[in-house]
């Protein structure tokens, strides 16, 4: 083992030691000496950060640079195996008057469909429809030096996040399924980069099975990921009518996920 490796391993020490060190002494001591001339721009930077972050929130991969007519969605499982969800996903056309700002008011699936002019999957099992709309706006151009500049133009990507859209009433609060919907629009010119497993993942995303959803004539890739909390995260990813969906189950079984997938229409 090299010392560099050891430094890296030390970055993963148990969380209790980290919070204990923070609690017992003020780790932020000494910050007074750091000049803060850029404070006035902090808010702006934060907003930009929030917008950029949406760009990288997908588990799918899309090449850098201007997009052509299609894009590829793939996930990495079992450490190094690539599973393609869709190899020629079309860029979708959304309504021109779709909001360019994120909406704080949740939308039902029907409202999202109406706003975007796109049909979305739903399920009778969904007992909560509070979706949050986040567009990624083509607000910059990439300069030769890699810096971004420019003003807001078109919507490149739309994310809809329906947290806990399926709640299992007879179970504890944690048992639920959430849904992430992503579409890349025909105005997209930027890039989406591969997303690593969340930091609470305690292992690789393991392929559980590929389940063919007869009603949709498409397959979903179901994976299991161990997490630090001890609970396995069950995810199901699929592309349907050029829209990417990820269903994230908390405290559910693969069978329950399959049962849910069968109800999608």
């Amino acid at each position: 083992m090299t010392n560099e490796k050891l430094l890296s391993v030390l970055g993963d020490i148990d969380s209790s030691f980290i919070s204990k060190a923070v609690d017992s002494t003020d780790c932020a001591d000494g910050m007074k000496s750091i000049p803060s001339k850029r404070k006035t721009t902090a808010k702006k930077i934060l907003l930009v950060a929030a917008i950029i972050s949406i760009l990288v929130s997908s588990a799918t991969a899309l090449a850098y640079g201007p997009l052509k007519d299609t894009w590829v969605a793939e996930i990495m499982v079992n450490g190094n195996k690539e599973v393609v969800l869709g190899s020629a996903i079309q860029l979708v056309h959304i309504k021109e008057d779709a909001p360019k700002q994120a909406l704080d008011t949740p939308l039902t699936i029907a409202q999202s469909e109406d706003m975007l002019g796109i049909d979305l999957l739903s399920s009778p099992m969904m007992n909560s429809e509070e979706g949050y709309y986040r567009p990624t706006v083509q607000y910059y151009e990439i300069q030769p030096n890699g810096k971004r500049c420019g003003e807001s133009k078109d919507i490149e990507r739309v994310d809809l996040w329906y947290a806990n859209c399926v709640n299992y009433e007879d179970a504890d609060d944690a048992k639920s399924i959430s849904m992430l919907i992503v579409m890349i629009t025909d105005k997209a010119t930027a890039s989406v980069i591969p997303n690593n497993d969340p930091i609470d993942a305690a292992g690789d995303k393991l392929l559980s099975e590929q389940y063919y959803i007869e009603g949709l004539d498409t397959s979903a890739v179901i994976c299991t990921t161990a997490t630090e909390s001890g609970l396995d995260r069950i995810s199901a990813e699929l592309c349907y009518k050029d829209v990417y969906y990820e269903f994230i189950g908390t405290d559910i079984t693969v069978s329950e996920m399959i049962e849910f997938l069968g109800t999608l229409a």
Partner: protein, 185 residues
């Protein structure tokens, strides 16, 4: 704001989540970055990258310990930024840290090489848990938060040489511990 509430904001994809996270942890994140990086701009960018990463991670991640969660991300980003900036020249706080950590690595490379990172981590966690509180915090602040010896001496109200001595003993102790466990495996 309580960590649970901040996580709820992330789950509802509210941009207030980033504002609240920055309000609560911004200073700490800045401190972690500043331990490795000297440029004000690099530090600011590291903090923003950390906030952005947390936004990307939550959901689906739902950390039990938000403090540790953000600190780990911040540390990782700061180290990567440092490596990027110092690709050619070897100097600065991290190289000093690396030299110090040399003393923790058992000399029997053939055996230590067989240790998986995860096993090593488990051993280090176990070793840390058995340490005296003060030494444990010193070690974590030096090798996780990458605080300088000067900063630690001020925080603990002890001399710099005292900090260095305690850390030296801790490193020797860790080396001995890893060697023993190594041989046992």
């Amino acid at each position: 704001m309580e960590d649970d509430k901040i996580i709820e904001l992330f789950f509802s994809r509210s941009e207030d989540a980033i504002k609240e996270l920055n309000a609560k942890y911004g200073r700490l994140l800045k401190s972690i970055s500043a331990n490795l990086l000297s440029s004000e701009q690099d530090i600011e960018e590291c903090v923003n990258d950390t906030l952005m990463n947390v936004w990307t991670e939550i959901p689906p991640a739902k950390p039990d310990n938000l403090t540790a969660f953000v600190c780990k991300i911040s540390r990782h980003i700061a180290i990567n930024r440092y490596k990027h900036l110092h690709r050619k020249k070897r100097c600065g706080e991290m190289d000093l840290l690396l030299c110090e950590l040399d003393e923790c690595i058992p000399s029997n490379e053939n055996i230590s090489r067989e240790l998986e990172d995860k096993q090593t981590l488990e051993l280090i966690d176990k070793w840390l848990a058995d340490l005296d509180d003060e030494i444990q915090t010193l070690f974590v602040r030096r090798y996780f938060f990458m605080d300088s010896v000067l900063k630690l001496s001020e925080a603990f109200s002890i001399s710099q040489s005292n900090v260095s001595t305690k850390l030296y003993r801790a490193r020797k102790n860790l080396k001995s511990y890893l060697s023993k466990e190594d041989l046992a495996i």
